[in-house]
Symmetry: C2
Subunit: 382 residues, 2 copies
């Protein structure tokens, strides 16, 4: 590694920065340093002494070195500032390795950036070099996503059973003699996810007018005859991959208006499905969905960016180690590639009645796509 | 807000950046922009249109504005780069507000930093201005931490019952006719935490030689007579605060060596406890713990930074919205203040036999401290 260029400097926690996890496959709550050759083939990692043995056991690196070898403690005592000391240590590491030019990603902390620059390191800020490689999911990655998806479906089946077994009294839904609430359903889902080694932070079960806000997590008793939007995006605790699925139910009887909306959303999803294949334009997919909604008189963000009713979000997004990752299926220049895993999630939202969303997760393959979601699309639960 | 200085620019996801959550109390998976006056009294938030209504409902801001008002979509179409477009939008927002000088935190993304600089914004990178205010926990915050701690204790009681009811056959532990594993215990803990609206990402139940690595999460069947280290650091799903607790058990009979180690760790913890009060030096506390271990012949990082056996980590850390936050009770210049919530967690680790750690979480008050942990410190479970 002497006198070489072409290295990328990564710094962060692999719990929160998925590029670092993708590259290192080493989980650490505390931020750490990793130097990667630009072809991603060689990886050098620098960690607190206490993490060295675990890194040797749990991950594969070309070099694992302790901060102790670079006297981080002494640097800290000298500069009395942990960030400054860390910046100096990085400089020492780079000098030792003969690296004077490094790339960093756009989210590299500006303070560390300035220290390195001041120390004479030439820094090139680059666009996410992992974007395309992370988009093209391997068989293993698809299996992980499918495992997360199965966890979501398993949880959804339990919720459906609860809704089926519930009874209606004066507009409210009762299960086991108690009023059914968003909180109860979320607790049930969370437990079923855990049975499958998955968890979902920010799980959505919103009902009635609450569901008109796509990101409302939902609270309180659930009424019959109103939409119940359940959006489950579980992450595997061990393998770290996500899936993402939404289903909307109505308990009891649904107004014609809701049934019409539900069918329109379902049709909109099918319009997107028909366009899914490598090289398909994300803009075309999203605009086709919008145009379909508009042809039936529903407002969309295509026609009017400022709306807060109708189809008010994009059609989908990539899913993997991040819950929202490229490609984004909206009005942009993304094109699908073989290996993409994306959601297709049209929805309609109205402040005074609520929202309906149907979301599947699909894998883009040479000949088109495979729907990784296997959950039924029943809407009305009698 | 015209022609004013003294503003801090925050940008990130409030799920991953706790300073942003602390300031906004608004949860969003996607990064967003917040401008805060330097006295933290005025807060202006900028969000995608879709989040506006939820922000109005869920949080309190002096101004909530949509990216639409700043034509983010048009900027994106013009620059064909989401980060560049976002940087330009921030510049426009700052210009509109008459702000030409802003502070950013050290982790502010370097790419955005450079765009703002190029656009003529004068940027001052500052050390975390929330550090002291976040350290000084309010009554409400202590209640949240206590709630998380109760969830941890509730889970631990369940684990103890399982260990009590287990039987030993040929070195292994059996519960309900099955070999007891780390995975099983972790699943039990996770479910009990969920019952209390809490979850723990990276939960530790390591046993035998695995427990010699303080951060090993543990796996596989558990043997009798060997340490079982259970480290639970649950976060409240709604209120977002953490607690942190570790207990070590031995099922069956413990060697004298383990009993001696356990008592030494317990005594070390008590040595730290006796020093806890406002203005106590974190260095003094940590070094006193190290000296006690060394006086009994146990190696520590005080004497030898390069060790990987003995007492190989620091004595404790602050806990709040982050699981590891200031103050750090190690060889540094931190002093405790009234309102700190910190862990005291001495431990001894040996590669060929395993580890023992005892961790309590305490609140520093005027007269000393309150131990927020109420879990028993039984070691051997017959």
């Amino acid at each position: 590694m002497k006198r070489e260029n072409g290295f990328l400097l990564l710094y962060g926690s692999s719990y929160s920065d998925q590029n670092i996890y993708y590259m290192t496959k080493f989980l650490s709550n505390d931020p750490f340093l990793c130097i990667v050759s630009n072809n991603f083939k060689r990886k050098f990692v620098y960690l607190p002494e206490m993490e060295i043995d675990r890194a040797k056991k749990e991950a594969k690196f070309d070099k694992i070195s302790s901060y102790n070898n670079y006297n981080l403690d002494e640097l800290f005592k000298k500069y009395k500032d942990a960030d400054v000391a860390f910046g100096k240590m990085i400089t020492d590491i780079l000098h030792e390795e003969g690296i004077y030019i490094v790339s960093v990603m756009r989210n590299f902390p500006s303070f560390l950036y300035k220290i390195l620059e001041k120390e004479g390191i030439s820094i090139d800020t680059i666009k996410n070099p992992f974007e395309m490689i992370r988009r093209k999911k391997t068989k293993q990655e698809v299996e992980y996503i499918l495992k997360a998806q199965k966890a979501a479906e398993d949880a959804l089946i339990t919720v459906k059973k609860i809704l089926e077994r519930s009874i209606i009294k004066k507009d409210y839904i009762y299960y086991n003699h108690s009023r059914l609430t968003s909180e109860y359903i979320k607790a049930v889902i969370e437990k079923r996810l855990l049975d499958n080694d998955a968890f979902c932070e920010g799980l959505i079960c919103s009902s009635g007018v609450d569901s008109a806000d796509p990101h409302s997590v939902g609270r309180g008793p659930i009424k019959c005859g109103k939409p119940i939007v359940i959006d489950i995006f579980p992450r595997l605790m061990t393998e770290r991959y996500f899936s993402d699925m939404t289903r909307t139910f109505v308990k009891g009887e649904a107004d014609d208006k809701f049934i019409e909306m539900y069918n329109v959303v379902l049709d909109a999803q099918n319009i997107a499905f028909k366009m899914l294949k490598p090289n398909a334009s994300c803009r075309d997919i999203h605009l086709s969905v919008c145009e379909y909604f508009e042809s039936l008189g529903y407002d969309t963000i295509k026609k009017n960016k400022k709306i807060n009713e109708g189809f008010i979000h994009t059609t989908g997004h990539g899913v993997g180690l991040d819950i929202h990752e490229p490609p984004f299926i909206g009005d942009n220049d993304n094109f699908l590639i073989e290996g993409d895993v994306v959601t297709i999630e049209p929805g309609l939202y109205y402040k005074n009645i609520g929202g309906i969303r149907i979301e599947d997760i699909v894998f883009i393959k040479k000949e088109g796509f495979v729907n990784l979601s296997n959950a039924s699309k029943d809407f009305v639960i009698p």
